[in-house]
Structures are given as C-alpha cells and as structure tokens.
C-alpha cells in the first residue's frame, strides 16, 4: 500500500475537515492531489502534528479535525497519545502513515521496523478506537467509519517507504499558515474578539 493512494482514496472526504499534516512526503503528496485552504502542513516541529490537531479539536468541538502523522514523528511524541486519550476529542481522526522509516532523510529504519506497535501504544494509552490497516480498501473503510463515528480514532496505515523526489513545494509556509487561519475565521465568525491578527486580516 502506498501513502499517495491512501490519500487519493479519501481526498474527497477532507473537504469539510480541518486537516493537519506533518512534514515531508505526506505534505508533498497531499499538495500534489490539490491544496485546499483547510489543509495545514506542519513543515517541522516533528511530533507536534497530533498536538496541533488536539488544540484545534478542543477549541472547535463542532469541527472535524484530521491529522496525518508518521511513525518517525509520533515516535518523537509518544506522550502525545496519552494526552489525546486523556481528553478524547470526539471530533479528531488521527492517521499514522507507518512506513517504518525516516524516509526524507535517507530511509533510516524506525523502531516500528523492529516490532514496536503503534496501534498497541495507542490502545494502551487509552485510545479505544484504533486499528492497523494494510490495504487501500481497509484504510478507506476504517477512515470512513472514523469520520462518522464521532469518537477519537487513531489509525495506523502500514505503507511502503516510497515518496516524492523532492519535498519543497511552491506553497510558502507562512502563506499556508495565514490562509488556514483565515479559513477557520470564516467558519467561526464570532470566535475571535479583539484579536490583532484577525483585525489585520479582515
């Protein structure tokens, strides 16, 4: 199973979600399918994709939030699983693309290549809805279910360690960041009061 095919299989369902991806191949491949203003690519700060999703999900409980994480990133913040479990945001779907590798820096194997089980970590942290998938059909099915479930879900998608040739895209980091915040401001017209940035952007 390839990550790009997984993303393609569920791309249409991301339309009404706030989407956070980690850096590298995930950000690049999602952009290759078509960037949308509701997509935010965290192009560094490895490990904080799930934390960003949690902040969004807690502040906007009516809004579905999807995080596309990776094994290398989540291994830098395994405690983040316990924080997700502690607050159980019902509007958050967490996907880990597990290619057992730090692909973008040359493909060095991560601990999932020697048996560390992220679904097991998620479950033992207290996330009841978690599943490992390894086919596109299964991934699509589990993701569809998670979006409908209205319950915190963490999906581990086992994918091949292949990605794009390069990782820098035309979308500037700050352009993406301001566009994403403006998109949310439009969704929540009265959630920002006296916020200097909002005034400047409006």
């Amino acid at each position: 199973m390839q990550r790009l095919d997984c993303l393609r299989a569920i791309y249409d369902q991301l339309e009404n979600c706030l989407v956070v991806t980690i850096m590298g191949a995930v950000a690049c491949e999602l952009q290759s399918l078509g960037h949308k203003p509701n997509f935010f690519y965290l192009q560094h700060a490895m490990g904080l994709g799930s934390s960003t999703g949690l902040g969004l999900a807690l502040c906007l409980p009516e809004q579905k939030v999807v995080v596309f994480d990776g094994d290398g990133s989540i291994l830098m913040n395994l405690g983040g699983y316990t924080t997700l479990a502690r607050y159980q945001p019902r509007n958050l779907v967490h996907v880990v693309f597990d290619n057992e590798s730090l692909l973008s820096v040359g493909g060095f194997p991560t601990a999932t290549s020697t048996g560390s089980d992220l679904e097991g970590v998620a479950r033992a942290s207290g996330i009841a809805r978690t599943k490992t998938v390894s086919t596109i059909e299964e991934f699509k099915h589990v993701f569809d279910d998670a979006l409908k479930a209205n319950d915190l879900t963490s999906i581990v998608a086992k994918v091949e360690a292949v990605g794009p040739k390069g990782y820098v895209t035309e979308l500037a980091l700050l352009e993406n960041r301001f566009q994403f915040k403006r998109y949310i401001e439009k969704l929540t017209a009265n959630a920002h009061r006296g916020d200097a940035e909002s005034r400047r952007e409006s």
Partner: protein, 172 residues
C-alpha cells in the same frame, strides 16, 4: 506548602482579563494553585500535558481556532520545548504566551533546580524571545497584558518569568 495562593490568584485573574481561553500545563510546585484554578474554571480549557513541548502545538492549534492561550511551565519545561518553539512558534509566527516559573535562581534550596536557573535568561535572549518578570502583584496584570499585546502585534512568542518573590511566601 508556601506557594502563594493570593498571588497565584492575581496571575490567574490577569490571564482571564486578557481573554485566555485555553491553558496548557505540566504541574510543578509553584504552579499548583494556578493549575487548580484553571481546572475549577468551567470557561477554561485546561490541557494537562505529558511533556511541555506538546503545549506549543496545542497553543498553535488554539490560535488557528481563534482562542487565546497560555502555556504554564517550569523553566525546565521551557528547555524541553525549545525545538517546538523554534520550529513551530517562531517558524510559523505564532503569538505564544509562555508563563515560566523561574526555578533555580537565588533563594533556591533544591539543588536539582540550580543548573536550569542559570541558563533560562541566556536562552531566552539567544532565541530572541522578549521577557519580563512577574515579581510584584501590583504589576502582574499590566505585564501579562503588555506581553500578550506584543506577542499578537509581532506574531512571536513572548515570555513572563514567575519569580520566587511573587510565588513563594516562605522567607529565604
């Protein structure tokens, strides 16, 4: 425990006046009352962390969502958060408001805190993060408000150091 309940209340009230709607925290001695106040406040979203760096991501998510936030942490938590501060809050221009308990400075009796006390201000300066001290209850509200105003005007992290003078009532 001689952590000042009165001055913790002064700090909490100041955060509320600034419109803070989310606080992320990892407990440490000086922060216990503040965290309890956040927990008892039905209008505050309190996120208890496993490691302080998570708070950078959570605050960034809150900022995107239009909610003002603050991180409550010990200076060792600040040390543990530096990659997130640089590669998220600074890289993506997030107005991160950090309240850092300034352990390990003069008056500190816990030997294990002393090394962190010595590097806190040099690190803030090296990172280009402006900071001021919360040392006088009469000035707490103004200093927190000013730090937040600057953070939003510059879209950059700002820090407030919670000092022994404010937080600890036992004579040294």
């Amino acid at each position: 425990m001689p952590v000042s309940l009165t001055n913790s209340g002064v700090v909490y009230d100041a955060l509320k006046k600034c419109g803070i709607g989310l606080v992320s925290a990892l407990p440490e001695t000086w922060l216990v009352h503040l965290i309890r106040m956040a927990e008892d406040d039905p209008k505050m979203i309190l996120v208890r962390l496993a490691k302080e760096e998570e708070g950078v991501g959570i605050s960034a998510g809150a900022h995107f969502a239009g909610v003002k936030s603050a991180m409550l942490m010990q200076n060792h938590g600040f040390l543990a958060s530096i990659n997130g501060i640089v590669s998220f809050a600074q890289l993506y221009r997030i107005p991160l408001l950090m309240l850092i308990s300034y352990r390990g400075h003069f008056g500190e009796r816990d030997p294990w805190q002393t090394q962190g006390g010595g590097v806190t201000e040099p690190l803030l300066r090296a990172l280009g993060i402006p900071y001021s001290f919360l040392d006088d209850p009469a000035k707490v509200e103004k200093r927190i408000a000013e730090a937040q105003t600057w953070a939003y005007a510059s879209l950059h992290p700002a820090a407030l150091l919670l000092t022994r003078e404010l937080m600890w009532e036992e004579p040294a």
